[in-house]
Structure formats: C-alpha cells, structure tokens
Amino acid sequence: MGLLRYTLNRVLQSIPVMFGIAVITFLLVNSMPGNPVDIMLAEQEASPELIAAIEARYGLDEPLHIQFLNYIGLSWILGAVGIPGFVGSPPGILQGDLGFSMYYERPVADLMLTRLPPTLLLMISAFAFAIATAVPLGVLAAKRRNQPADHVSRVVALIGVSTPSFWIGIMLIILFSVQLGWLPSGRLVYPWRDPSHYGLTSQWELYYQTVRHLILPMVALGTLQMATIMRVERSSMIESLQKEYVQLARAYGVSERKIMRKHAFRPSQLPVVTLIGLNLTSAIGGAVLIEMVFSINGMGRLLIQAIQTHDYQLTIGTTVVIGFVFVIGVIITDISYAYIDPRVSYGEEN
C-alpha cells in the first residue's frame, strides 16, 4: 500500500519535470538557426504568400510567447475560461496533445506509438544482455580476485568501457554480417507484427527472426553497460565478502557456494541497481547511434530527423517522451531498492 502510494507520488512529481523538459527544449529548438518553412520548401522558389500561408497553418506567425502558450496548452485553458483572443485555441501538452509533425504531416503522438516500441525493445534487450552477462562475470571476478579470471574480466571491462558503441556496431556488422554472413545487419523484425508482414508463416519463425535481428544491435548497445555493471558487481561483492556477516556465515559452516549465492549476493546488489538506473540515460544516447548504424526506425532516428528538419513539435515531443521513459526507469530503480534492502522504506512514517 505504501509502495503504490509512493509510485503514484513519484509519477505525479515527474509531471513538473516533464514540463520543465518541454520548456527548455522549446526554447532550444527555437534558438536554432534556420527555420522549418525553408527546409519544407527545400530548393523551390516560393511566393511570400505561400510562405505566409504555411507559417499561419502551423502557427509560426504568432509571436514566440504565444507559440509557447499554444504548445504548452495554456492558451487552450485561457480560451476555455473565455479570455478573449484565446477562445478556440487548439489543445497542447497539458491536454495530452504532443503536437503535430510538419515533416511527417502526422500527429506527434502517432509517431511515438510506432517509434517507441522498437527503441524499448532494443534497450530492454541490451540491458537484459548486459545484466545477464555482467552479474555472473562480476561475481566470478570477485570470487577469483586477482586470479586470471579476474584479470581477463578487467581487460574485457576496460575495452567495453572505452570503445564507442557505434564502432562496436560497425565492427559487428563487418564481421558477422558481411564477412561471415551469419546475422542480418539491420532493421528489426517486430514480434508484435503479423508473421505474414515479413513473409513468414508461423509465430515461432517470427520470434526466431526477431532474435536474429536483435543480436548485433543488442550486443553493440549492451557492451558498455555490461562492462560498467560488471565492475560495480565485482567491487560490491568483494566488499560484501569482507563483511562480518559473511565471516559469521563461514564460522557457522555455510558453504562458499551458498555464501556467494545468498549471504554476500543480495546485499551487494544495491549499487548495481543504482548504476543500472543511472545508465538508462546514457543508454538512450547510445540507442540513438545504434539505431542509425543498424537502420532501426526508433526514437533515436526520429529525434535526429526531427532536429535536421527543424520539426519543432516533433523534437520537443520526442525529447519529452524519452524523458518520461527515463523517469519511469528511475522509479522502477527506486522501487527495487525496497525489494532488495528492507532498510529502505516507502511507508508513511517518512
């Protein structure tokens, strides 16, 4: 009950954060040189009337502060209470409307619905890959501290941390797609689509293709995460193994195996979970590049296109949605603290 309340609180608290992101992004995109109408018209010669018509259509003819009020949705509210000059204003972010993309000529929210799932699929699988490899390797490195296995893991971690993910992605494509021809080099197969969309006959075939297409981008994006999580897992385990409660377990005849699995493991996971939560941000940045390298139509590519075409509302919308995903990630991190460590309490007494 305390947890539900806490979660709800956190989601509500994130609304001002989202609002702040929208404000800052709005100011930033509007201070970029160039304007969207020029890009829209590209090389064509256009009459001033046409330009004015386009500007009017997208509300770009209004002064900046009015554009802001419109976008945020304050104009709609002012109109709703009957302030003259605002009556009939369209809804904005506060009303849940993320705006309209000039470049795609579609509502921003529509684009999000098609672009967010691939990015989430990529990020979740990258983190799953990172956690599934880093945790056992980190524990092993802690157990075999200063032995060959530990040294190997240290070198792997160093390489993982210091190699850019897009370069890893390109190398993986060269090796596994071009040279060996084992795995596809780009685009994803979405497991939520109908198999016939890809010319496949069964659901299992679809899942198989999904996995095949995911492996390379997942590894490319997950390697950095794996390296950092592994190092933190190792040092955290080493710290726990020196704790008195672990020595006590040994003194009571608990096997080393069980100490590794239970007594030292669980208290060690708090810093690991913290790191994973924080890394969500850097992973979103990485996902942008990985989506470019592997031609995945996700949020990252969308954001880059939006910025290149000066698609103001799409840029802000994409940024806000990415911010929201991050906030959700942080909330999940905080909730998992309570699960791992009973000293963390989300009850009313705090």
Binding site: Y245, G253, V254
Partner: protein, 372 residues
C-alpha cells in the same frame, strides 16, 4: 576435574604482507575444559582474534597457520608433521569440508564483537538464526524455526515469535547481541568463542549480556573462550584467564590467582589500568607506550620496552612460559617473566627503559642509549 575439550599447543599464525611477515600468533598454548569460561585478554593487536580464528581454521589470505597443534576432543583441527626440512599438514588433520560440516557451528560456534555488522541487513533476524540452526543440527526447517523462536525467547527477546520476521535494523545493539547469542547456543555447540561480544555495547547492556551468558552457560553446560581487553569482564565471568601480549601468552591461570597473586608485570599493568569506583581517572596507571608491531618484535622479553620492572637481562633473554606460583586447586599458574627464572634478573640493574617514552621505537632507542 572435567575433561579437556580443546587443547592448543604452540600455535603459530603468520600474515605475509608486502612489508614483511607478521607473526600475529607466535607460540600460543592453552586449553579449555568442559563447562568453563576461559578468558583471552590483551590489548588491541595482541593476537586474540587471530588465535580464535586459527582455532576455527578461518584464517584467510594472506594469513596462514604455520605451526603448532589444535586438538578438539581427539580430533586434529591443526597438526603438522616435521619432515626435518619443513612442516607439512598431518594426515589426520580435518579436511576443509569436515571442518565446515562437523566443527564450525555445531561443535564450535562464534559470537563476534560488533552486533551491528554481524547480522545480514537484508535477511530477517529469525531467518538467519533458523538457517544456522538448520545447517548445524539434524532437524528440518519447521523444527529449526520453532527452535529459533524458542532460543530468541530464551535470550530475552520480547515477543520472539512476532519479532522473528523483523530485520536487523529494527533491533537495538544489545538486542542484536542477544540474537547472536541465541544463534550460537541454538546450534548446541560444545564451545562458544565470544570475540569481544560486549565491547560495542554500553555498560548497562554489557552487564545484562554478561548475566545472560552466565545463566545460559550454566544451563547448557557450554564452554566459552571469552576474548576481551577488559579485566573487569574477566573478573565477572571467567574461570581461567590467558593474558596475551604481542602474539604470546604471558600469564595463565585461574582467575582468582591472576588477580590476587599476579606474576607478570603486564598483567599487573592491565589490572592497574581498570577504572574503579575508589580511584579517580588521575589515579589510573596507563601502560606506557603502545604495543609494538608484530613484524619486528622487541628482542628478549617482548614487553621489556614498556615494562616498569625491566632489567638488563630482559633485553636479551626471552623468558620461558613456566609455572610461576602454587595454586589452591593445583591447576597451573604460568607466567613468562625472567623474575621466575635463574638468569640473573635479580642481580641486574634496572633498565633505563621507556617508562617516560611514548613510542616503542623511542623506547628501544632510549634503552640502547642508556646502555652506552
């Protein structure tokens, strides 16, 4: 006299550090009889905890037990064969898995100093007590849980059944130490090593814990090795005492004899440094200087740089650990001091040693200059 359950003979444990070999325990011998509380007393760094860890064979890298013997009820915990060249572990020494399954917990249990750190913060208190009881006694999980609740009740945890599912942070320090005692006694060991179990507690709680241990010890008939630096605690609960200084035992005997017929200047000094109601802080006599490192112990008697009674031979001759006084019940009262040997101690002049010096190195230098 009751049966001897633990016999430690000439135990040596070393730590190999980058700066050299630390002889943390350097030839320690003592024994524990069924049902008695044996004290192991000394300053921080004297080697008390290393001694008890060696007895449990829990010394970790870079440390190693390098010599001596530990015999527990006819079984060899530590034992070496001398091949002439080097010492090799004896065949009858218990294997690591035998130590784990047959000795640790179910025969010898341990209570650590810091109750705040000894319990795992992420598991319930009851679950931890239950786990150790289940591992060390031949009972199933359900019985172990009932036993854990019963033991928590016995050590004075109110509403033990309800508090079983609480986490360590919901317990006070004294309560946690009670939990650790419940853990130890719940495994029904023959011997409990209590490594400064009351040092981290405040005095009133310490008194309660000592009383509790005294009662339960009588009831369960468990023997204890009680590690402490507090002579007051020794007086309260121990039957016999071993006084350690720099990796060696310097005096050993029944508690009354140690207090009333002290044979070693170090023990004397420890006794003089106990605060008592009839003396103010100004009347206390602290032991001068600090204990030197165990890397390069002083020559001769290791205590000589700080000893108020030191004389010339103390610097060269290492005293033997020998019977020093008669005791009422015939159990030996041993001490390692040249006063009890025929090496000319009584004829020699006093060493101009560091009664006024504060550092052991300074004391050493001062002593040497005094000789010239």
């Amino acid at each position: 006299m009751s049966e001897t359950i633990l016999e430690v003979t000439d135990l040596k444990t070393q730590f190999y550090t980058e700066r050299g070999v630390v002889r943390a325990v350097d030839g320690v011998s003592f024994d524990v009889k069924q049902g008695e509380i044996v004290g192991l007393v000394g300053e921080s760094g004297a080697g008390k905890s290393v001694t008890t860890s060696s007895v449990m064979r829990l010394i970790e890298e870079p440390g190693e037990v390098v010599g001596g013997e530990v015999d527990y009820m006819g079984r060899t915990i530590v034992g070496f064969d001398d091949t002439g060249e080097e010492l090799v572990p004896r065949d009858d020494m218990l294997s690591e898995s035998e130590m784990r399954e047959d000795v640790r917990g179910n025969e010898i249990a341990i209570i650590f100093q810091d109750p705040m750190e000894s319990l795992n913060p992420v598991y319930t208190v009851g679950g931890q007590v239950k786990e150790f009881i289940e591992i060390n006694r031949d009972i199933d999980g359900k019985e172990a849980k009932a036993e854990a609740i019963e033991m928590l009740r016995r050590v004075g945890i109110p509403e033990a059944a309800e508090r079983y599912d609480d986490y360590p942070h919901e317990f006070s320090g004294g309560m946690r130490q009670r939990v650790l005692i419940a853990m130890a006694l719940g495994c029904r060991p023959n011997l409990i090593i209590a490594d400064e179990p009351t040092t981290a507690l405040d005095v009133t709680v310490e008194g309660q814990i000592l009383e509790l241990v005294d009662d339960l010890q009588e009831e369960f008939g468990t023997s204890f090795i009680w590690v402490t630096h507090d002579m007051g605690v020794v007086a309260e609960i121990c039957d016999r005492v071993n006084v350690m200084y720099l990796g060696q035992i310097v005096e050993q005997g029944p508690v009354d004899e140690i207090f009333h017929d002290t044979q070693h200047p170090y023990t004397e000094a420890l006794l003089n440094s106990i605060p008592r109601p009839d003396r103010t802080v100004g009347d206390l006599e602290p032991i001068e200087g600090t204990m030197p490192g165990a890397m390069n112990p002083p020559s001769g008697c290791r205590f000589h740089p700080r000893c108020p009674d030191a004389r010339e031979p103390c610097r060269e001759v290492a005293p033997e650990f020998r019977v020093a006084a008669e005791t009422a019940d015939g159990s030996p009262h041993r001490a390692a001091c040249l006063k009890h040997e025929d090496v000319g101690y009584w004829d020699a002049g006093p060493l101009d040693s560091g009664a006024s010096e504060t550092t052991p190195a300074g004391a050493d230098a001062a002593a040497e200059e005094g000789e010239r």
